[in-house]
Structure formats: structure tokens, C-alpha cells
């Protein structure tokens, strides 16, 4: 311990001596490993280092499944990153655990944040402090395979706009073999993917309910809407037989492989779907209900500053965070990853709004909801189990939704007690 103080003193002395020379600060940036995100960040780091020769940024990535564990373990070991990416839904855990430090109001004034970013940025606020800023936001849309639409005699320029049209298109495009096995899906069913968000924030509302109370502390989908929404969802497999959970392992894989006519997925899938060359695909807004009500689920990964960053590292981290949430960085992120800019001026440009792929996602930001998860994986598991009870065990949707509501309420109560 004493040695460490002496070393620190020595280091301080040396740094005073070399004050005249350029000071090289190295800061560490963490995000999870995903090819396009890493490539985009490499590009941003190169630009940032060119503009700030005295700062170097070291990017470290971990597999998504390990990412939270790594961050928390690093915090416990006192070796956290200076800037790190986090899902908005992890904020409660990271903030209460002291992984993050609040953004200084001088470097990031609140009124500017709230004026420039889409309103969902407030999900990064706890008390009076912001704990991070998003580069990009993501929303959901309906992807459809134009080739399969044409083969089924549907107009590829007119994707379904209502739930009834969705079911009709799915019925028209689904293919079965002689034994009745599904060999090509009308629409993918994958609760472990994005379908739980579709059911929670979109279908439940479209069937007349509200999934949670305003503060997201009380589960309300059990009262109204949830049951009908689940029945609509599971009927796609059990009644219309146009989709099947686990078909081709994952919904996105089925769509990519040209074995599914439609899938609901997010902006983050654009980068991966753009490499499809066997068929043309299109994107449209999530279908409305019969009354024209639309909803969507928007989410984002934000970048925050680690609690261990101090002094010149903190200053460098703030500079870096400001750059990665700048309009320029958002444009690069949009081009490389395909995610929508989190600032309104960068997102709602004429070019973006005229883009047939981006427009449906951008329109959704107007009416999108952002679920405040306390335990994203746990709450998702509740939805997966809920659908499985109906699909595999023949439980009635009403009983299954009631059981899910109780289980999810327990998770929320446990996390907020």
C-alpha cells in the first residue's frame, strides 16, 4: 500500500516534469462484440484520435452473453472501463452498483440533451442526473421477403398494414409438406427474439390493454389486452399454422435463409440482412389494429462514463462521449450498423425519411414505447415461458397470462424492494 503511494507520488512528479510535452492519455472503451458495431466504433475511434492526438482509446469487446458479468466483475475488482456501452434496461443495476458516474452538467447540460435527443433519452435519467447518452436508437418493423410474396401472388409493393392483412399474408405465404410439416413460414415466431416486445408493447395495446403502470412498477397486461394478444400470437402457430417457434432455430435465421416470408425485427438486424443476396426484402411499419392504432418498442444502447475515471482520464472520457454522441458519429453509426441516430436533427433528415428501409423505423419513433426493465433477461424469460405454456402444454391463454403477470410482478417487486 505504502509502495503504491510512493509510486503514485513518483508518477505525479514525473508527469509534472513532462507537463510541457504532449500528454498521452489512454482511455478504455467497452462494448459487446458484434461485427458491425465494432467496425463502426473502430472508425469513430480513428476519427477521434485524429482530432485529439493526445488521447488514445482502447476498445475492448466481450461476447454479449458475458458482457454484463464482465462489467460487474471489473467493477468489483476496481478495474472498470472509462467509457462503456450499456443497454438502457441495465441502468438500474449499473447505477445502484456504482458502475457509472453521473454525467457532469457542465459538459452535458440537461436542457440541451432534452432538446436535441428523442424523448426516450430520459430512460437514462435517475433522480437529477443523466448516466449516459445514446448514439443510436432502435425500433421494430416488419421485414418481408418480396420473392416469397410474389410466389404467393401477393403484391410486393403492398406489405400488410393491419393485423388482419398480416394474418392473410402469412396464410398465403406459409408452405407445408405432404405430412403437414411447415417447410416455409408465413411469419416467424420467436419469443426469445423480438416477439416478446411485440406482444408486450404493441399487441397488448392493440387489443385494448396497457402492459404496465406508468412507472413500470405494476404489471397490468393481465387485466386487459394481454390475453387476447397472446391468443392472437399463439393462434399463428396452433390455428393458422403459419409459424412455429424454433423453426430453423431462430426467427432471424429462417428469414435470412429465405424460409420465412415475414419477421419482426429491429434496426440492428439491418446490417446483417443487407448481406442477403438470394432475394429482395422490404420493410414496413408494424401492422396497426382494426382501429388504426399502431405501437412500437424503441430501445437503445447508451454510452456512459465508468465510476473509476478521474482527472485527465475523466476529461478524455467526456470528450470521447461527446464525440460518439455527436451528429457526425451518429451518421457513421447509421451507415455502418444501420441504427437510427438518437438526435432528432440527425435522424429526421429528408434523405433518411425518403429511404424506404429507414422510414418505417423512423416513423415508429413517434409512437414507440420504451419498457423500463428491472431484469431484462428475467422478464423476457417470463414471456417465453408464457407462450410455451400455451404452445407446448395446452394451457389456456388466460391462465398463462395470469401466471406470467404474477411471475413478472414478483421479479419487479424483488428488484425494487
Amino acid at each position: 500500500m505504502r509502495n503504491r503511494f510512493m509510486l503514485a507520488g513518483l508518477a505525479a512528479g514525473i508527469s509534472l516534469l513532462t507537463l510541457g510535452a504532449a500528454q498521452a492519455v489512454e482511455i478504455e472503451y467497452w462494448q459487446y462484440a458484434y461485427d458491425t458495431r465494432v467496425a463502426a466504433m473502430d472508425q469513430l475511434i480513428a476519427n477521434f484520435e485524429a482530432a485529439n492526438p493526445d488521447i488514445t482509446v482502447k476498445q475492448t469487446t466481450f461476447p454479449y452473453d458475458d458482457y454484463q458479468t464482465r462489467v460487474i466483475a471489473a467493477k468489483a475488482a476496481g478495474q472498470g472501463p472509462d467509457v462503456l456501452q450499456l443497454f438502457y434496461g441495465w441502468l438500474d443495476k449499473f447505477q445502484s452498483g456504482g458502475v457509472l458516474q453521473p454525467l457532469s452538467t457542465t459538459a452535458f447540460p440537461h436542457d440541451q440533451i432534452e432538446a436535441d435527443f428523442f424523448p426516450i433519452v430520459t430512460a437514462m435519467k435517475r433522480g437529477d442526473d443523466y448516466y449516459g447518452l445514446p448514439t443510436a436508437v432502435r425500433s421494430l418493423a416488419l421485414f418481408y421477403n418480396k420473392k416469397l410474396f410474389e410466389e404467393a401472388g401477393l403484391d410486393p409493393a403492398k406489405p400488410p398494414q393491419t393485423l388482419d392483412e398480416l394474418v392473410a399474408a402469412a396464410v398465403a405465404t406459409a408452405k407445408h409438406d405432404d405430412a403437414g410439416n411447415l417447410i416455409s413460414e408465413g411469419i416467424t415466431l420467436d419469443m426469445a427474439g423480438q416477439d416478446h416486445q411485440w406482444w408486450r408493447e404493441v399487441l397488448t395495446r392493440q387489443f385494448g390493454g396497457v402492459p404496465y403502470s406508468d412507472d413500470y412498477r405494476t404489471v397490468t397486461y393481465g387485466e386487459k389486452g394481454g390475453v387476447e394478444a397472446l391468443k392472437f400470437y399463439t393462434d399463428l402457430q396452433t390455428e393458422q399454422k403459419v409459424g412455429q417457434t424454433g423453426f430453423m432455430d431462430e426467427g432471424q435465421a429462417a428469414f435470412r435463409g429465405g424460409m420465412a416470408a415475414m419477421t419482426i425485427d429491429g434496426t440492428f438486424r439491418l446490417g446483417s440482412f443487407r448481406t442477403i443476396d438470394q432475394f429482395e426484402w422490404g420493410v414496413t411499419e408494424l401492422p396497426a389494429n382494426a382501429d388504426g392504432l399502431r405501437s412500437n418498442y424503441a430501445s437503445y444502447f447508451a454510452n456512459g462514463i465508468g465510476s473509476s475515471a478521474q482527472g485527465e482520464e475523466l476529461a478524455a472520457a467526456e470528450k470521447f462521449l461527446a464525440y460518439v454522441s455527436s451528429p457526425e458519429a451518429m451518421q457513421i453509426w447509421l451507415e455502418v450498423v444501420g441504427e437510427l441516430p438518437a438526435r432528432k436533427e440527425a435522424a429526421l433528415t429528408d434523405t433518411n425519411l425518403a429511404d424506404p428501409v429507414l422510414a418505417p423505423f423512423l416513423k415508429a419513433l413517434d409512437y414507440a414505447q420504451t419498457t423500463q426493465f428491472v431484469d431484462e433477461a428475467g422478464q423476457r424469460q417470463v414471456a417465453i415461458d408464457m407462450a410455451n405454456r400455451v404452445l407446448l402444454e395446452g394451457q389456456s391463454p388466460a391462465d398463462s397470462v395470469a401466471e406470467a403477470a404474477a411471475a413478472e410482478q414478483a421479479i419487479i417487486d424483488d428488484a425494487t424492494k
Binding site: 458479468t69 467493477k75 468489483a76 412455429q244 431484469d375 407446448l392
Partner: protein
């Protein structure tokens, strides 16, 4: 080593150290060398074990300092239906997996022992899966179990007009489907050990038995199986512990809904992993670990007692 050094340094040369007889010196040196691995092992193995017992009485979540909560975690465990489900699953893996794998492995070894033609090649084929990474095996099997149009088994079934099976997506078939993979993956090792055990039985016993006119069945019952007992005891304990700790296969074959639909394949180790590393509820996870430790201890002791040599 340090002990040796201090002993020789402490006393002037030619006094205390030289007065020890050579026997004592050897013992001291032996202990000095042994101390290193013992201390190291104790530090990386026993210390964390005792630490786990302590953590199981706290509410530690990595981020905040641990608070002593007494038996609260164990109380929660007893009243958690999810725990009893994984408890049942774990014992299903053990009670079906271990005997089936042993019987199959013995049958393979027993007949392979008599095969001279391509003996080495066949043995290698059985052993190959054991050398392969469990995760890679699990992903191949995951693909084999898929529904049509990509699954191998279901593709075959469909060609014969047999309805496809849900396998990993079913609450009843998923656990047996994973168990088959686990048995197959461990088979090679058990076959090799059984083969070695069979070879160790002196041929003269068999010759004597045949001269006395014993049939093959009687030879198997009266000579082979009793003399194979040490091998069997080892494999029973070894494979039981393996099935109680099953994780890789389950985790990799059902990673998009970890533990299978509605937790139907989830073993206790996967529950510990999820409690610890996705919910970060270390205290509760430690309590589950202590339960697993106790089960392993009891099962191993019980087996050693049942199969003890009289």
C-alpha cells in the same frame, strides 16, 4: 522449500542439520516439496469452498457489500418451485443417464474385447467424441434435432411420412434428447476403462472355468463381473458426478431458451450459473452450490459404501 531453506540457514552448517539422520532429512525434504502443492491446492480449492459456505448465508450481489442474512437463502430455496424442478431434472440425468451409459459402455467393451479385426480403429471411433469439445458436439446435435427443413432426424422421419418430433422444443422429449448426447459423448472414455479392466483379468481364470465346463453366461456372472468391480466402482462414481454436474450440453443445445422450454432440461448447475451470472444473486447461488456439494458428497459416499469390497 522455504522450510528447508530456513532450517539450513537458521543453524550454522554442520550443527543441527547434519545431526539429522539421512531418513529424517529425506522426510523433511519430501514435506518441503509437498507443501507447495498442498498450500496451492488448499488456497485455490478449499479456501473458495469455505468461502462459498459463508457467501450462502449472505445477500452478496457483487456490487454491494455482503450482509449476513442467516438461513434466508436456504428458506427461499426450499420454497422455490424452480429449484425443485431442476432438482428433479438433475436426478433424472443421474438415475437414467449413469446406469444406461454404464450398461452400454460395458456391452460395447465386452464385445469389442473379442474383436480382433480393426480393433484399434473401432476403439478410436468410440473414443473420438470424448476428445471433441462438448460445446461443438452440442451444436452439431442441436442441428440434428431441428425440425424440418434443416433437422437431420426429422428430415428422415418426414421422408417416411412419420410426423416430425419436437425434440429440444418439447417439454417431454428435450431432456432425453440431451441425455442421449451426453451418454454418447462420455461413452468412449467408459469403454476404454472397461477394456483395460477386462484385459487385467488373468486368462487362466477363464481357462480354468472352461475346463470346469462353465457356460459363457456363468463366466460373465461369476468371473468377469466380480473381478471388474474396482473398474465399475470407479466408473459409477465418475459418471454419477458427471451427470450431476451436467452443464455444457444443456447450455449449448438450448441457448436461446436456456434450460429448455419451461426449464424442462435445466440441471442444477445451469440454475446456479444463471442465478450467479445473470441475476448476480451470489448468496442464493452459493446456497444452491452448497446443496449440490452436499448431494455430490452423499451420492459418492453412498456408492462407495454400496460397492465396497467385503
Amino acid at each position: 522449500m522455504t522450510q528447508g531453506a530456513t532450517l539450513s540457514d537458521a543453524a550454522p552448517k554442520g550443527r543441527v542439520w547434519d545431526r539429522f539422520p539421512i531418513r529424517t532429512k529425506r522426510v523433511i525434504w519430501a514435506w518441503a516439496f509437498l507443501a507447495l502443492p498442498i498450500i496451492f491446492y488448499g488456497w485455490i480449492r478449499f479456501y473458495p469452498t469455505f468461502q462459498a459456505f459463508w457467501i450462502s448465508f449472505t445477500d452478496w450481489d457483487i456490487l454491494k457489500p455482503a450482509q449476513f442474512v442467516g438461513l434466508e437463502n436456504y428458506d427461499k430455496l426450499i420454497h422455490d418451485p424452480a429449484f425443485w424442478k431442476v432438482f428433479r431434472n438433475t436426478f433424472t440425468y443421474l438415475i437414467i443417464g449413469a446406469p444406461v451409459s454404464l450398461v452400454v459402455a460395458f456391452a460395447v467393451a465386452y464385445y469389442l474385447d473379442r474383436v480382433r479385426f480393426m480393433h484399434g480403429f473401432i476403439r478410436a471411433l468410440y473414443f473420438l467424441p470424448f476428445l471433441t469439445t462438448a460445446a461443438a458436439l452440442a451444436w452439431v446435435w442441436r442441428w440434428i434435432y431441428q425440425p424440418v427443413p434443416i433437422g437431420l432426424i426429422n428430415g428422415l422421419l418426414a421422408q417416411f411420412g412419420i410426423p416430425q418430433q419436437a425434440f429440444l422444443k418439447s417439454t417431454t422429449q428435450a431432456l432425453p434428447a440431451i441425455m442421449v448426447t451426453a451418454i454418447w459423448a462420455g461413452l468412449g472414455f467408459q469403454v476404454i476403462i472397461f477394456l483395460a479392466g477386462l484385459r487385467a483379468i488373468p486368462q487362466t481364470f477363464y481357462e480354468a472355468a472352461r475346463i470346469d465346463g462353465l457356460g459363457e453366461g456363468a463366466i460373465l456372472r461369476k468371473i468377469t463381473l466380480p473381478l471388474l468391480k474396482p473398474t465399475t466402482v470407479f466408473l459409477v462414481v465418475f459418471s454419477s458426478i458427471g451427470f450431476l454436474r451436467i452443464f455444457d450440453q444443456v447450455y449449448n443445445m438450448t441457448s436461446n431458451d436456456p434450460g429448455g422450454p419451461l426449464g424442462s432440461t435445466k440441471p442444477i448447475v445451469l440454475m446456479i450459473y444463471q442465478t450467479a451470472f445473470s441475476s448476480f444473486d451470489m448468496g442464493y447461488a452459493a446456497a444452491q452450490t452448497v446443496v449440490l456439494f452436499t448431494i455430490l458428497l452423499i451420492v459418492s459416499l453412498l456408492q462407495l459404501w454400496v460397492l465396497r469390497s467385503r
